[in-house]
């Protein structure tokens, strides 16, 4: 127990986290590539054609994992923010800002693939469905977070302000989701349902899970690469950077 505690504190310091992150990046990158290859193969070649939607449904293998990741990454950002605000650790803020661009990317990807999917299935690029609308707002929240951090020059203040915003956002996401859902049902009655067919083929589920894991590994790899850049940028004047990292 005590050793694990010591390890946590050890890796909370940028100086010891930097080399560890460097060692982990190739593993997660490789995992992302392999899993994505497997997932795409299962999704595009093995999974059966959908009875109602034909081949068009196959975008699900990108769309659904991207949506999951975009929501999950925001929660992870809120977790790091809470940790950073309560323990005043520097690395937490760096992790939060390292995750934000990937989260925004997945939110955008989810909207884009969703609209590509929506055109042949519903006949419209965009419908004011509760999920679409709240996903769009999540995208705005990511943009707000990135813009706020970019506008503040002092990195410590940027971290803390971003952390507060991420926490305010994570409290608001469920409220926004339910309010939009209610707004939608009031207006349209029977709205377009995005719920999947209840009996989903096992291969479809496997493909989706593989892609989700691939996106997960990609996110970790990207966040680690980005956090390494942030660490270098901020600690440029410190001894350990001059000694070890710049060689």
């Amino acid at each position: 127990m005590s050793t694990s505690l010591i390890n946590w504190f050890k890796f909370a310091s940028p100086a010891s986290f930097y080399p560890m992150a460097g060692r982990l990046v190739p593993w997660f990158s490789a995992a992302a590539l392999l899993l994505a290859a497997a997932g795409l193969w299962v999704g595009l070649a093995i999974a059966p054609t959908d009875a109602q939607q034909g081949e068009g449904y196959r975008i699900i293998f990108v769309h659904v994992p991207a949506s999951w990741m975009s929501m999950f990454i925001y929660c992870v950002m809120a977790f790091w923010s809470a940790l950073g605000l309560s323990f005043n650790t520097r690395l937490s803020g760096m992790m939060t800002s390292a995750l934000a661009p990937t989260g925004a990317l997945f939110a955008f990807l989810s909207l884009w693939t969703g609209s590509l999917w929506g055109k042949p299935m519903w006949g419209a690029w965009w419908v004011w469905d509760a999920r679409l609308t709240s996903q769009l707002i999540l995208f705005f929240l990511y943009l707000g977070f990135i813009a706020l951090q970019a506008a503040i020059d002092d990195p410590r203040r940027a971290d803390k302000a971003g952390a507060i915003l991420a926490l305010v956002g994570v409290v608001n996401v469920p409220i926004i989701y339910f309010s939009v859902q209610w707004w939608n049902t009031l207006h349209q009655g029977a709205s377009v349902s995005m719920t999947k067919a209840p009996s989903m083929a096992h291969t479809m589920l496997a493909g989706m899970l593989l892609m989700a894991l691939a996106f997960w590994a990609y996110t970790i790899a990207m966040a680690l690469i980005r956090v390494r850049c942030i660490i270098l940028e901020r600690e440029l004047t410190s001894e350990w950077v001059k000694k070890n990292a710049m060689e």
């Binding site: 813009a147 302000a161 915003l165 305010v168 409220i175």
Partner: protein, 225 residues
């Protein structure tokens, strides 16, 4: 009551006095609201049925934008002349002082909007009952806008391009208030009850009253560091 809330009343009084000395700012924000709402029919066309339908949304969006205008100056002048720092260092609870400032902001920018709203509603040919519901929903909703907005104003205090940034941060968070506020009128026109909308708006307001001044204080302390 007298002792504990004295800092709150002091802060409200001070900001109201300041607003009274700079009347143009208050009046400008109000006229901004009136003009934005009046531009919509000019852009959409004079079809009465359509205008009646979009009136609640138009007034609510006008109220959101008018609130944003005043928010940029909620903490900035006090930050520039050092008053905010003195407030943070003073023995009075900082949260109460900030709550007072937010209250004053609502009295100066939210309440006039609520009072002008029925007049604008008449321009959109809203029936009397809808007018009353719209005004009530704005009365419940505009404090939410001031409270959430204060968090954004504190986060963007003294930051490059804070005005635009503030809108980007805050407008998405205004969505629930907009939906329930504007939705109440439409629900009534559709023959559905309005209790649900008003209960949720009230719940939002209470949650904001409890949490927003506190979060604003935390954000201000970060900005003052």
């Amino acid at each position: 009551m007298n002792g504990a809330f004295a800092p709150f009343r002091q802060a409200v009084r001070r900001d109201l006095l300041l607003a009274a000395r700079h009347k143009t700012e208050v009046i400008t924000a109000l006229f901004f609201f009136v003009i934005v709402v009046n531009l919509l029919p000019l852009g959409i066309g004079p079809d009465q049925d359509l205008l009646r339908k979009i009136a609640p949304g138009a007034l609510w969006i006008g109220a959101l934008l008018a609130t944003l205008l005043g928010l940029q100056r909620l903490f900035a002048p006090d930050h520039q002349d050092g008053t905010l720092e003195q407030m943070a260092l003073s023995p009075q609870p900082f949260t109460l002082l900030i709550a007072g400032k937010i209250m004053a902001h609502w009295l100066v920018s939210g309440l006039p909007v609520v009072m002008v709203a029925p007049l604008l509603g008449v321009q959109f040919d809203l029936p009397g009952r809808s007018l009353a519901i719209l005004t009530l929903s704005l009365l419940l909703g505009t404090p939410i806008l001031s409270l959430i907005g204060a968090v954004g104003a504190a986060l963007t205090l003294g930051v490059r391009g804070s005005g635009v940034l503030l809108s980007l941060l805050i407008l998405p968070l205004y969505i629930p208030a907009l939906i329930f506020g504007a939705g109440a009128v439409e629900a009534d026109l559709a023959g559905l009850g309005i209790e649900g909308h008003f209960s949720l708006l009230g719940a939002l307001l209470l949650a904001c009253i409890v949490f927003a001044p506190w979060v604003t204080t935390v954000a201000l302390r970060v900005a003052l560091e």
